[in-house]
């Protein structure tokens, strides 16, 4: 059937989203009201006809396990396909050991049992749409050993910190893969996504571990592409792209999609982004409310003012409250007369006594989960 199986890697060590990540992995972050970040990589694979998928989890697996279920919401036929959640235990002694490679080695049995010839690897903390079936065709046609996906950006100087950048020659061979040192505006951000033969992948995992037990696959590829023994190429991705690598990136990715034309491009009817329903009822907007330029999920009760904001499921905004330029996660309550600006409010939080909260542009405020302020 499908030529490839998919792997969604766990949040890499170098990614740290302050606040949110205390409660769940980046994959499980709520995004744009009703989604979670992992909905994007899984929908990409499912829409590409890939229905054997391994999702690697390290910490706090509960919410992801429940969200993904058996993959029915993502159109994955549970008989023909399989959504496998693979845990890799984390060493407490030294964080350095907790690489993607150690996760793959822990579950090598299950990688080897996969019958497709190719593997597609995706990160769990990036948001984009990509047809991997098409990418796979181009990879096979090109004769390359490894094909990597990158996105050309013009704001690499103050964004995409802790991401990697690639350099390419004329034939689209990767000549280097290095950390983004934020020293150039224009740069090709590596999307942590690649395609190769399953056998090469297994080989690579073992070689990486032998080379250094603290190396990730990407670090190994960075060595290999200077060696020149493997044919490693890049393909440019077009369309919406965001990496959730820190709290500000999370905030900006949400805000960017308030541009409805941008949102409609990412959420194309040809490429549905699936998620799990919460069976919330529609949202009620009451007399006296003012709502402008906002995404409103279901189950909300809105009596106040909402502008330029992303509102999660079941949020309550009471009379006289003003919410501007903010991202509100599910089930939080903004009390009467409370004024929010540039804030991220985590799930179940309730802001009723603190009358004003204002983050700075470029440095949004964060309210912890279940907190009462």
């Amino acid at each position: 059937m499908a030529k490839a199986f998919g792997i969604v890697t766990s949040t890499p060590r170098r990614i740290h989203v302050a606040g949110l990540q205390d409660y769940r992995s980046a994959a499980a972050f709520s995004f744009l009201g009703r989604y979670r970040v992992i909905d994007f990589p899984i929908s990409n694979l499912s829409n590409s006809g890939i229905d054997n998928i391994q999702v690697y989890l390290n910490k706090q697996p509960r919410s992801l396990t429940e969200h993904l279920g058996t993959g029915r919401n993502y159109n994955i036929n549970s008989k023909r396909g399989r959504l496998q959640l693979l845990y890799h235990s984390q060493t407490g002694t030294n964080e350095l050991y907790n690489t993607d490679v150690s996760g793959f080695l822990d579950n090598m049995d299950y990688i080897q049992r996969m019958s497709p010839d190719y593997v597609v690897i995706e990160p769990c903390y990036m948001i984009y749409a990509q047809d991997y079936d098409e990418l796979l065709e181009r990879h096979i046609e090109s004769g390359a050993d490894i094909t990597m996906l990158y996105h050309k950006v013009d704001n690499a100087k103050d964004h995409f910190l802790s991401c990697r950048v690639v350099s390419l020659d004329k034939d689209k061979h990767i000549t280097s893969l290095t950390e983004n040192r934020c020293n150039a505006k224009e740069n090709n951000i590596f999307m942590d996504s690649y395609v190769m033969k399953k056998d090469l992948f297994i080989d690579l995992v073992r070689k990486t571990y032998d080379f250094s037990s603290t190396y990730s696959i990407a670090q190994m590829i960075s060595v290999l592409c200077t060696e020149g023994k493997l044919d490693i190429r890049g393909i440019a991705h077009h369309g919406f792209f965001a990496a959730i690598n820190d709290l500000n990136a999370y905030y900006e990715a949400n805000m960017d999609l308030l541009d409805i034309s941008m949102a409609e491009e990412l959420f194309s009817p040809d490429w549905p982004i699936y998620t799990r329903t919460s069976d919330s009822c529609p949202t009620q907007i009451f007399e006296g409310a003012e709502v402008k330029r906002s995404m409103i999920s279901n189950g909300c009760l809105i009596e106040g003012t909402v502008e330029n904001s992303v509102i999660g499921r079941g949020v309550v905004i009471r009379r006289g409250a003003v919410v501007r330029n903010s991202v509100l996660l599910a089930y939080c309550t903004i009390g009467e007369g409370v004024n929010l600006n540039n804030e991220i409010v985590d799930k179940w939080a309730s802001i009723t006594h603190t009358m004003k909260l204002e983050g700075e542009p470029g440095k949004p405020g964060y309210v912890k989960r279940s907190d009462v302020l």
Partner: protein, 379 residues
């Protein structure tokens, strides 16, 4: 085994011709309601929440959409190993030809073999066209307590309207002493909701006899219930006190939608302990544009509002473009009000477009305008 040994059958046969074009392509129970629901989500979710695992849906008219809709029982969690929603249409058997259901009782009679597969102790009969939340497990507990042969759910209606309903005259303990179909001079205001619990073994015998009776209309209200009363069986009325609405006309469907705009309305779809489940649309959250004005609006996923919306219910994927005004109106799924159009006191059917600048409906019309076809723009 599971606690509730009761099987439910939903009578979803009706075309519902008073809903005009809304039921041209779909059976009445599949008509949309409340932004994201269909009417049949209510009895099905009630069943799921009441712990009923097997539900038969009896239908014969235009069942394709209804059929493919309810067959996905997972929407109500009714897709476990031993649960399911089953669409039951008339069929050819070894000894009979293909024939339509001749009445509500006949629809059950023709599916005795289906019911027998599960050997239930109780049978719950529901209709597919009411909006309400009811815990059938409580009704069953009442039925068992009273050792009844049948229990009928009733609701108090204003006395002056009672003559429009089937009225139950009961003793103090709820025992039914008389049943009057649309009485000219009602003595009680307890109207039948068309919801029955029967002891299956007893009902089965009655249905077998009824099938052979050429004089019978094969109807629960006209034949089975009166016969049971005549036989001196113990029938009880169980009084329901929540929100209940028959949405059989355009006006009543519109009203039932408008009811949702009230703060703390009685239907309370937001109650986490009694959710109404439905199909999940792959759609963005509702998007409200920079110049939109929204007041008293019920809005759901996939909506896109740029204009002015007041006192209205916006269903999945409906659109109100810039400069448009929508007031006292229901926009069904995918309906679109284009730039500058004005829509007032209307129910705009699924997928219908109101062209640029068009004016539709009026604030002082007596009844609600059903817009079932695209309206051309004026510029």
């Amino acid at each position: 085994m599971k606690q509730v040994n009761m099987l439910a059958m939903i009578l979803a046969g009706g075309r519902g011709s008073r809903l005009h074009e809304l039921t041209d392509k779909v059976a009445k129970p599949a008509v949309s309601y409340g932004g994201k629901y269909r009417i049949i989500d209510f009895p099905l979710s009630n069943c799921a929440n009441s712990g009923i695992d097997i539900v038969g849906v009896l239908t014969q008219y235009e069942s394709v959409l209804l059929n493919s809709y309810v067959a996905a029982g997972g929407r109500w969690g009714l897709d476990t190993k031993d649960s399911g929603v089953f669409v039951l249409t008339p069929r050819e058997k070894a000894d009979t030809g293909l024939d339509v259901y001749r009445g509500t009782a006949d629809a059950i009679s023709q599916n005795i073999d289906f019911i027998d597969q599960y050997d239930p102790e109780y049978l719950l009969i529901l209709s597919g066209d009411h909006i309400y939340k009811m815990n059938y497990a409580k009704m069953l507990a009442f039925h068992r307590e009273h050792n009844a042969d049948a229990t009928i759910a009733v609701i108090g209606v204003p006395m002056r309207e009672a003559s429009r309903f089937g009225i139950m005259n009961t003793g103090e303990d709820g025992k039914i002493v008389e049943f009057q179909e649309k009485p000219a001079h009602p003595v009680s205001n307890l109207a039948s909701m068309g919801i029955y619990i029967f002891n299956w073994k007893m009902l089965r015998r009655m249905l077998v006899a009824d099938m052979k009776d050429p004089a019978s209309d094969h109807d629960f209200g006209k034949n089975i219930i009166p016969q049971m009363l005549a036989d001196g069986r113990s029938l009880y009325a169980w009084q329901f006190k929540g929100y209940w609405k028959d949405v059989g006309t355009i006006d009543s469907l519109w009203e039932a939608n408008m009811d949702l705009l009230d703060k703390k309305n009685k239907l309370d779809l937001d109650d986490p302990t009694w959710k109404i489940y439905t199909e999940d649309a792959s759609a963005l959250p509702a998007y409200i544009g920079p110049d939109a004005e929204m007041e008293r609006v019920y809005i759901t996923q996939g909506c896109h509002a740029e204009g002015k919306v007041k006192n209205s219910v916006l269903f999945t994927d409906s659109e109100v473009r810039a400069g448009a005004q929508v007031t006292d109106t229901v926009l069904m799924p995918g309906a679109c009000v284009e730039e500058g159009a004005v829509v007032t006191r209307a129910l705009v059917a699924e997928g219908v477009r109101i062209g640029r600048g068009a004016v539709v409906g009026s604030a002082d019309s007596e009844s609600i305008l059903l817009v079932a076809k695209n309206v051309k723009g004026v510029d």
